[in-house]
């Protein structure tokens, strides 16, 4: 069982309201839930990446994972330094939030 919340801020017009995205694996098909857990594991295991100090207008993304025992983990990345795995996770979260 796992939930994830994505918060987005920054960018060319940073105060445009960007609603949070929520995904709960209880709402997902068996297959999607497996993909979700695998993406989450990959991202959580990645070492933190420092933001690029020369970047301008980049967005920041924070994903908070919560498990039923109350444990939570937060991973933050930005446009100019994002890993492909983190990008895959963002796409997954956005896609599945919309369907929920």
């Amino acid at each position: 069982m796992m939930k994830a919340t994505l918060a987005t801020w920054g960018g060319l017009a940073p105060l445009l309201a960007t609603p949070a995205v929520h995904v709960d694996d209880a709402d997902l098909s068996k297959e999607d839930a497996a993909t979700f857990r695998s993406l989450a594991t990959q991202v959580k295991d990645q070492p933190a990446r420092p933001a690029n100090p020369r970047a301008r207008d980049a967005r920041s993304y924070e994903v908070t994972f919560e498990t039923p025992d109350g444990a939570s983990t937060t991973v933050e990345q930005t446009d100019a330094t994002m890993t492909p795995e983190f990008a895959d996770l963002l796409q997954f979260l956005r896609r599945h939030h919309r369907r929920a």
Binding site: N52, R59, D79
Partner: protein, 381 residues
């Protein structure tokens, strides 16, 4: 005798065509300074013609919806054919318009002043609702189709991002609080000037909006920002309300964190943005002429920690230098800052800076005179 006549203009023009690179550059610098000091514009064509076309060469890459730039495919080059992908061609044309604006209007050779190559990446990520400058190149998203369309559709956004590069190579304004808001404002100012210049629009004809072309028609809102009326670009459920102030009385104090937009750099930029709009519309005509030149010279004279007051004082000094102390241009610069709640204090600075620049010019002219003498000697020999 005015300084511009010590070396006859036709000799400077001959030197400007010279085979010696350093001689040519010196002549061009002097011609350009002369043109700036006298307010004439006829030298532009010559300066432009003598600048090598091999500068600021463009490359556009297709990210194919990935986020790793090193995996993107090179899709269009400076001399290569058009792409079948409209995003690629729009990015290519936008880079070209921005490069040409800096070269032809401000005599700047690409964003570093030294012909730096211009690289753009399109189709970054999926539904990506942003465009950014990563310190070396610019990156465009396709938008999500609900709020934003393809970011390559906005020429002012392309000009905005590339100007972040120009700022980095000049004042290098730190991206926090007032210097950060000035950094953002430079990008908005020169971004709209690229658009106005490309469309040959006067200050009166222009809409003074940033990002008007990237909002979907379904979104009730004009743009991301309005330099004419900061705080009015949008107001709706999907986007919230435009938070920009257009006057110091509305300055927004935000934490200097990424969530606080580093002290509101995209928010408080509305104040210097509006000052530029006030100057441009009070002077009338093309905003890239006197207003653009005053702002550009002031950007080059600024440093990492320049704040609003210091920048305003610099624009006043530069207006005096370029167009004369007590000129209409200088008076209207002061009025423009007054209109956003900033009183300029710069009369003495103008006198000192004018003197320094004249001294520099005298030095260049003596050097050129020596060069001419050696040319003559070589001709006789």
């Amino acid at each position: 005798m005015p300084l511009c006549c010590i070396v006859p203009p036709h000799m400077l023009e001959r030197l400007a065509q010279s085979d010696s690179k350093s001689r040519r550059q010196k002549a061009l610098n002097t011609l350009f300074n002369t043109y700036r000091l006298s307010g004439e514009r006829t030298i532009r064509a010559l300066t432009f013609a003598s600048t090598s076309p091999d500068t600021g060469r463009r490359s556009v890459y297709d990210c194919r919806h990935g986020v790793t730039l090193s995996r993107a495919i090179l899709t269009r080059t400076e001399d290569g054919p058009q792409s079948t992908d409209e995003s690629v061609n729009r990015a290519f044309d936008g880079l070209g318009a921005t490069r040409d604006f800096y070269r032809q209007v401000l005599n700047r050779n690409s964003i570093d002043g030294n012909g730096l190559r211009l690289n753009a990446y399109v189709h970054y990520d999926r539904d990506f609702q942003n465009a950014y400058w990563d310190g070396e190149q610019m990156v465009f998203g396709d938008g999500d189709g609900e709020i934003f369309v393809d970011f390559t559709k906005s020429l002012d956004v392309i000009g905005h991002e590339l100007t972040h590069g120009v700022t980095e190579f000049t004042a290098n304004l730190t991206y926090h609080n007032q210097p950060g808001a000035l950094n953002e404002s430079m990008s908005d100012v020169f971004g709209v000037l690229v658009k106005q210049w490309a469309n040959q629009q006067t200050a009166e004809q222009a809409d003074w909006l940033i990002g008007a072309d990237i909002l979907t028609p379904g979104i009730a809102g004009d743009a991301l920002r309005s330099m004419k009326a900061p705080g009015t670009a949008y107001d709706n459920e999907a986007l919230g309300r435009d938070p920009q102030p257009g006057h110091m009385s509305g300055y927004v104090q935000l934490p200097d964190t990424s969530r606080g937009d580093w002290g509101g750099v995209h928010i408080n930029s509305g104040i210097p943005n509006h000052a530029f709009y006030l100057l441009a519309t009070s002077l009338g005509g093309p905003a890239w002429e006197a207003p653009g030149h005053i702002w550009y010279e002031s950007l080059k004279a600024s440093s990492a920690d320049t704040n609003f007051q210091q920048f305003a004082d610099t624009t006043y000094a530069k207006a005096g230098l370029l167009y004369g102390a007590s000129s209409k241009q200088q008076k209207l610069v002061s009025d423009a800052w007054d209109g956003v709640g900033i009183k300029v204090a710069g009369v003495n600075t103008t006198a000192v800076e004018t003197e320094n620049t004249l001294r520099e010019l005298v030095k260049q002219v003596s050097q050129l005179t020596a060069d001419i003498a050696s040319l003559k000697a070589a001709g006789k020999g």
